[in-house]
Every structure is written in structure tokens, then in C-alpha cells.
């Protein structure tokens, strides 16, 4: 099918572009890595690495895939998107190829973060880690799609400050740094309204070797729903993008 070929072509092209800027890939993972190094040893005096690292992975996903829209702001400005849009390639492959490129970079960053975690004392079982990575894929797809949809909708100057501001409460409300079970009831309730809490909780279960639990099911379901929603939204925005 030409849709799959086009998706692959765009994916490969965007991967190349991103990997050419290796320092950007590393810097994209710097924030969670710094938390791991400078906050982890403190945190593990009361908690465990298996509780902290899942939170840092979700933080990483928000920072990495969540900022994917940056790339398209430039491609719109430089006429690259229009140039691609006059080819017979479908609108969805043009979107999906980019999104998958962002997800691949996110996976690379996640593996680096996990390696660092292991060096510090994380001892998650391999099946749990692999399942976790499998959950990161749709999470990355949803965040990157949403980021593109927002970048193509709001004005370009607002995008960066807005997204970097929104990411902070989303990270905090996910319970990335401390389990939300420790929060006062109102904060716990607000946190339940955000999707990322369920992802963090599912990852924590996986990293402690519990797979068939309600939290894992909830995390998977929320992620699947979020992915479907964000992809549909982004596909719509992409189809009519850039007047």
C-alpha cells in the first residue's frame, strides 16, 4: 500500500534529521536524567527506583514527544510542509511518518534513561521493562500527534511557552515524583482527571513484576483511548492544515 510506503519514507527522513542532531536527542532526555541523578538518591531513601523511574519515563515522554510540534512550526515556515502536501502522499502518512520518527527517538531516550537507572540501582525485570516500552510507543504517538495538532492550530509564537508551561502540571499531576496515594484528596482527585497518572501507575506495576493487575489494564486502556483521540484530532488538523 502506498500509504505505508509514504509513512515509512517520511519516518526515515525525519529519523535521519533528528539523529543528525545527536546533542538534541541527548538534551531532550537531560531533564529526567538530571532528576534521576540528583533527586533519585534522595528519593530512594524513602522510596524505590522502581517507583521513581516510571515517573521519569512519563516525564521524558511529555518533554520529548510533547514538544514534537516544534519541528513542524519550522517546516511550515520554511515551506517544507506545503512542498510535501503537493505530492500525492496521503495526509495521514505525512503525519504518521513524523510521529513515528518522534516515537523512535523517544524509545532511544527511554532506553538511555533505563540504562542510567540500572547503573543507579533500578532492578526491574526484563519482561516488565519490555512491556513498559510497548506502552511508551502509543503514549509517544498520542503526545506527538497532540503536539502537532496544537502547533498547527495556535499561533507559532505561543506554541513554545504554552507547551512548556502545560507540561509541568501534567508531570506533577501524574505523580511522577511521588505516588499520588500520598497526596491530599483534592490533589488526588485532580490527578485522576489526567491520563498520565494511569500510565505512571501501570509502569510501576510492570517494573515490580506485576502484569495482570487493574492498574496495568487501566494504564493500557487510557493510553489506547488517548492515542485514538489524539491521532484522530491531529489527522483532522493535518488534512486542512496551513492556509
Amino acid at each position: 500500500m502506498s500509504g505505508m510506503r509514504d509513512t515509512y519514507l517520511i519516518f526515515r527522513h525525519n529519523m535521519r534529521i533528528q539523529l543528525r542532531h545527536k546533542s538534541a536527542v541527548l538534551f531532550g532526555a537531560a531533564q529526567p536524567a538530571l532528576f534521576l541523578v540528583l533527586f533519585g538518591p534522595l528519593f530512594t531513601s524513602v522510596g524505590t527506583w522502581e517507583i521513581l523511574v516510571p515517573g521519569l519515563i512519563v516525564q521524558l515522554a511529555l518533554f520529548s514527544a510533547g514538544l514534537a510540534g516544534f519541528g513542524i512550526v519550522f517546516d511550515v515556515r520554511f515551506g517544507v510542509l506545503d512542498r510535501l502536501r503537493v505530492t500525492p502522499a496521503g495526509r495521514t502518512p505525512l503525519l504518521l511518518g513524523r510521529v513515528l520518527g518522534n516515537v523512535a527517538v523517544l524509545l532511544v531516550q527511554t532506553v538511555l534513561l533505563l540504562a542510567l537507572g540500572y547503573a543507579f540501582g533500578l532492578r526491574a525485570p526484563l519482561p516488565g521493562v519490555l512491556l513498559g516500552l510497548a506502552l511508551i510507543v502509543p503514549l509517544g504517538v498520542s503526545l506527538a500527534s497532540l503536539s502537532y495538532a496544537v502547533a498547527l492550530t495556535i499561533d507559532q509564537e505561543t506554541f513554545a511557552p504554552m507547551v512548556s508551561t502545560v507540561i509541568v502540571p501534567l508531570t506533577l499531576l501524574s505523580g511522577a515524583f511521588l505516588p499520588m496515594s500520598m497526596a491530599p484528596p483534592w490533589l488526588d482527585a485532580v490527578s485522576r482527571l489526567t491520563p498520565f497518572r494511569y500510565v505512571v501507575e501501570a509502569l510501576r506495576e510492570m517494573f515490580t513484576g506485576h502484569y495482570a493487575t487493574p492498574a496495568v489494564a487501566a494504564g493500557a486502556a487510557v493510553t489506547a483511548a488517548l492515542t485514538a483521540l489524539c491521532l484522530a484530532l491531529a489527522a483532522r488538523v493535518f488534512a486542512r492544515a496551513t492556509a
Partner: protein, 249 residues
């Protein structure tokens, strides 16, 4: 090759294109002239499926703009008024991607890119990033994107802006050769009236979103000269200024 019916576009309140009708025959080189803001780019972006018309439609390269935009895209090339490369990416990579999105295989794409770059006198520059090219070189790369897949219909929005006289003459020659050898139809805008005069078989003049005149360069000059046999032969500049009805110093 192009048949436009009542094409109209308004941007919340601004009527950029106010209902235009025209036709372009296969194998013609047609110049689309008009002042800044007259609606040329807007019309082109509608005809290349990038912008949805407020109303009206067109058949472009045999496909209906609204019901079969993909069919249109398969058969057109479009060189936008602005640039089309990211200054941080090697232009050769971008060209190969573009060729492959038009259905070429990798080897074919590579060969075709080399061929087009050769024609546009850009050989050896494919490894450069967009930001490391001169303005005129970048402009010729923009043009390359429109030619890769040998489209039967080519839209050029101010293709020669920023080119030196030599490159400009080369491009004219190249465009004429494409028409003569491949029967390519070309629809282009330009602000260089001597270019329009030399290159185009026929001209369309748009003013404030409406087509105000059309004909061969000769016909338009004759029309402006009127019946007075002693009047000096008008240039296309005279034609343009008269038809777009603006007092200029």
C-alpha cells in the same frame, strides 16, 4: 489543462480572489500577472490543492480540484513563491524524498535528482544544507522540487525572483525546452514584464482579485495602443499599468 470556474477566496473578510474564470490549454506557457496583493499566489494555492476555495472549482490536469485533489497532485508540479527547504537539512536528501513520494524507487530517484540538478546547474551542491546556499542557488533548488517527477502541468510562482540575468535566461530556455520536448504546460507568475513578453504564449492579468484582461502579449499591446497609428508602440509595462489602472510616477 486548467479550467477554472468562479473561483473565489476570502480570508475572514479580505476578498483575495473574487470569482475568476479562465482556461489554459495543454502545451501553453501562460503568464499570470498582477500587482502585489492582486491574488496570484492565492489563486495558485487553490489550484494546487493547498488552499480550499471559498467557492467555485476547477479542473486541473484532468482532475476535479475538490473531488479528486490527489489526482491533481499526481500530475502537477508547484514551485511556491517562498522557499521550500529547511535551512538545516541537506537539499539532496529532501529532493530524493520528494521524488520517492512521487512514486520513484530509490535508485531512480537518485538518478533523477542528479539529472535535474545538472539541468539547473546545481551539480555538486546536493550535499549542502539549505542555509549554506546563496539566494539564487536556493531558488533553483526550489524549482528542482517542481520538476522531479516530470509533471505535465507546472505552476511557478515568481520563479526567477533573486536569479541573476544568466540564470534567468537559462531558466527561460529550460522552461521552453520542457514545453517543446515534453509538451509540459506552464502557468507562472512574474513581476518581470520583459520575462512575460519573452516567455509566455498568453497572459492573464488579475487586478484586485478579478481577471481584467487576457490575450497574447501582442494582442494586449495592440489593445492598449488603440486605433491611433502614430502612437508609440506600447511596451508590456504600459499594458500592465493601463490595465491595472493605477497612477504611477
Amino acid at each position: 489543462m486548467i479550467e477554472v470556474r468562479g473561483l473565489r477566496k476570502s480570508f475572514d473578510g479580505v476578498e483575495a480572489v473574487r470569482g475568476v474564470d479562465f482556461a489554459v490549454e495543454a502545451g501553453e506557457i501562460v503568464g499570470f500577472l498582477g500587482q502585489n496583493g492582486a491574488g496570484k499566489t492565492t489563486t495558485m494555492r487553490m489550484l494546487t490543492t493547498l488552499l480550499r476555495p471559498t467557492s467555485g472549482t476547477a479542473v486541473v490536469a484532468g482532475h476535479d480540484l475538490l473531488t479528486d485533489p490527489r489526482g491533481v497532485r499526481r500530475r502537477i508540479g508547484y514551485v511556491a513563491q517562498g522557499n521550500s527547504t529547511n535551512p538545516l537539512n541537506p537539499v539532496g536528501d529532501e529532493l530524493e524524498l520528494q521524488a520517492m513520494l512521487h512514486g520513484m524507487r530509490a535508485a531512480e530517484a537518485r538518478q533523477r535528482v542528479a539529472e535535474v540538478l545538472d539541468r539547473l546547474d546545481l551539480t555538486g551542491l546536493a550535499g549542502r544544507v539549505g542555509g549554506a546556499l546563496s539566494g539564487g542557488q536556493r531558488r533553483r533548488f526550489d524549482i528542482a522540487f517542481g520538476l522531479l517527477h516530470r509533471p505535465p502541468l507546472l505552476f511557478l510562482d515568481e520563479p526567477t525572483t533573486g536569479l541573476d540575468p544568466q540564470s534567468r535566461a537559462d531558466l527561460w530556455r529550460h522552461i521552453r525546452a520542457l514545453r517543446d520536448e515534453q509538451g509540459m504546460t506552464v502557468f507562472l507568475t512574474t513581476h518581470y514584464l520583459e520575462e512575460a513578453d519573452a516567455l509566455c504564449d498568453r497572459l492573464l492579468i488579475i487586478d484586485a482579485g478579478r481577471i481584467v484582461a487576457e490575450g497574447t502579449p501582442e494582442e494586449l499591446k495592440r489593445r492598449v495602443a488603440g486605433d491611433d497609428p502614430d502612437a508609440p508602440v506600447p511596451t508590456l509595462d504600459d499594458v500592465f499599468l493601463t490595465l491595472t489602472d493605477k497612477e504611477r510616477v
